[in-house]
């Protein structure tokens, strides 16, 4: 920044110096012009004086001139012919001996005319004295502010002044040129001043702009740094979100695991009760001594079947719980997926006297990750069941419709009264739940929506007259 100020200072000094040089040069030129014009005027006056002296010397004798009034009148007329607006007075005098006065011999003036031999006392006597001494033409201003100058031309013969031709001539051309040059100078100073001011304004603007640009580049640099950090920050946030999602998935799986454990417990209760009953019967038979080989065999077969059923149940749940990978895309019948899901939840449905209606109008295989779809279906069925239980609905039902209309639609509807309109657009948000903390985590529907979107489908909801209607819309995919 200092450099700019120094540059500005140097430029200003340069401008001021140039202005001074220009003014000096202008004044010198002005003086030269004035001098040249004056010289020209003097040349003219000198030339006139020479002509007059030549004429008089050739035409008249000095005696005639000094004594004959007729000669004076003729010379007056001759001198008069030279007068004009540039020559005011033109007369001839000769010095009186031992006197400061001069005697007039002829006068070409029209007005205020000198008489013949009228004595005349000149102004600026020192100049006249100089003329008498040096015998050389001389000129001087009548007074400082006057435009008129007096030119004295001595006519000399044998080192003696015969007479002096006096011409009062105008220096108006010099004054006019001087005035015009002064006007020009004023204009130049005015425009020079304007240019000077313009340069100062430009320099101020330049400095301001330079500062602004510097500030801007500083801001851009800051912004760049911010952008660089922003990328890192975004990555950090993305990582946080990823971790959050992982956490959600984990929570979701834990919740699912809880549900499944509850369901396993429910499913195991009946066979375990049956096994308990078989074992009790065997004990009673032993007590009463009624135990025979056939009974033992029957009981063992029964227990083996029940254990096998329990084992199957475990396998089913285990398969259900196992997380699909992208390699687990396979062609599976939708009905099978639905039935596998219903198998898990069916005891709960029966226990709550809920009528399950299945309308399967499309039963072809689709290319999908079956366990993921099962998880979603189970979540939707469980939500309907919970709503039915909560609302204590008489003649409750859950209806599942599967059909194809360009895409494959799986609809799960119930008659539990539906979802309040004010929360309808929020139910897919994470951690949003209408259930109490014990029964709901608020991530079931959020995870379901994510799963369906991962399966290249859409999950949406609306209310019917009787209750809620969840629709899974799947785009058919080719499984090679």
């Amino acid at each position: 920044m200092k450099k700019i100020y120094y540059l500005f200072l140097i430029l200003m000094l340069l401008l001021v110096s140039l202005s001074f040089i220009e003014i000096k040069s202008f004044n010198k030129t002005k003086q030269n012009i004035k001098k040249d014009i004056l010289n020209e005027l003097l040349l003219n006056v000198n030339s006139i004086s020479k002509n007059i002296s030549n004429y008089i010397n050739k035409t008249y004798s000095l005696y005639d001139l000094k004594s004959n009034i007729n000669t004076k009148n003729k010379v007056d007329s001759y001198l008069n012919s030279f007068l004009g607006h540039n020559y005011k007075n033109l007369f001839i005098v000769y010095p009186k001996k031992n006197s400061k006065f001069f005697t007039v011999l002829a006068d070409g003036s029209n007005k205020d005319k000198f008489d013949f031999k009228e004595t005349f006392e000149p102004l600026q006597k020192d100049k006249w004295q100089k003329l008498l001494t040096q015998k050389h033409q001389i000129y001087f201003k009548q007074n400082i502010k006057n435009i008129w100058m007096t030119y004295l031309y001595p006519v000399v013969a044998n080192k003696k002044i015969l007479y002096i031709i006096v011409i009062d001539f105008s220096t108006k051309p010099v004054t006019l040129v001087n005035n015009n040059l002064n006007i020009f100078k004023k204009n130049v100073i005015f425009f020079g001043g304007l240019i000077f001011i313009a340069i100062i304004v430009l320099m101020i603007f330049f400095i301001y702009d330079y500062k602004r640009q510097k500030k801007m580049s500083y801001l851009i640099e800051e912004l760049k740094q911010l952008n660089d950090t922003l990328e890192e920050k975004i990555q950090e946030e993305v990582e946080k979100n990823r971790q959050k999602d992982k956490q959600l998935i984990l929570q979701s799986r834990l919740a699912l695991m809880g549900e499944l454990l509850s369901m396993i417990a429910h499913q195991w209760r009946q066979p375990l009760n049956t096994i308990g009953s078989v074992v009790s019967n065997l004990k009673l038979d032993i007590m009463f001594g009624e135990l025979d080989e056939k009974k033992i065999q029957d009981s063992i077969t029964k227990i083996e079947n029940l254990i096998l059923h329990l084992s199957h149940t475990i396998d089913d749940f285990s398969n259900f719980y196992r997380e699909d990978t992208t390699n687990d895309f396979k062609d599976v019948s939708i009905e099978k997926i639905l039935n596998d899901t219903i198998d898990i939840i069916l005891p709960s449905i029966h226990n709550n006297n809920v009528q399950l209606i299945k309308n399967i109008r499309y039963n072809k295989s689709i290319y999908i990750m079956p366990n993921r779809l099962k998880q979603v279906l189970l979540n939707l069925l469980k939500n309907s069941l919970d709503a039915i239980k909560e609302q204590k609905i008489k003649n409750p039902f859950i209806q599942i419709d599967i059909y194809k209309n360009q895409n494959i639609f799986i609809e799960v509807r119930d008659n539990a009264g539906g979802i309040p309109d004010e929360i309808l657009d929020k139910i897919f948000d994470p951690y949003f739940s209408t259930k109490d903390a014990k029964n709901g985590t608020g991530i079931g529907l959020y995870m379901s929506k994510m799963i369906i979107e991962k399966l290249n489908g859409t999950l949406y909801v609306k209310n019917t007259k009787e209750g809620a209607l969840f629709t899974i819309e799947l785009r058919e995919q080719n499984g090679n």
Partner: protein, 122 residues
């Protein structure tokens, strides 16, 4: 126009002041008095030493072409040329001031001439 008028008046005042100074010096020397009575119609005031009087009787000197037998000092070349009894004159010729004094007439009125003014004697 206003400026030209101011300059003109300024020049006139300057000129008249020079004249007054000359008159003051000349007349006080001629009459050898500190106060000279002047009878004139041209000036209403000249200086403290030159007192303007309104009658010929009271006057020491007549300034200008007035009918009075006292010594006459004229202010015009042609009047001076015509009136041979005038003691002198002050007038302008071609923008140049001219002072003329007549020795014989001055002597006639017993007026004193200092060396300063001897050059102007005719």
């Amino acid at each position: 126009m206003k400026y030209i008028l101011i300059i003109f008046i300024g020049i006139q005042l300057f000129a008249s002041n020079s004249e007054t100074e000359l008159f003051n010096k000349l007349f006080t020397i001629l009459f050898q008095k500190n106060s000279v009575n002047i009878y004139t119609k041209k000036y209403s005031f000249l200086s403290n030493n030159l007192k303007i009087v309104n009658s010929c009787k009271k006057a020491d000197l007549v300034l200008g072409e007035l009918n009075c037998s006292k010594p006459k000092f004229l202010l015009n070349y042609y009047h001076f040329k015509k009136n041979k009894n005038a003691i002198g004159a002050f007038y302008w010729r071609k923008g140049r001031p001219q002072l003329k004094l007549r020795k014989q007439i001055l002597q006639k009125y017993n007026l004193f001439i200092s060396k300063n003014f001897e050059d102007y004697l005719e």
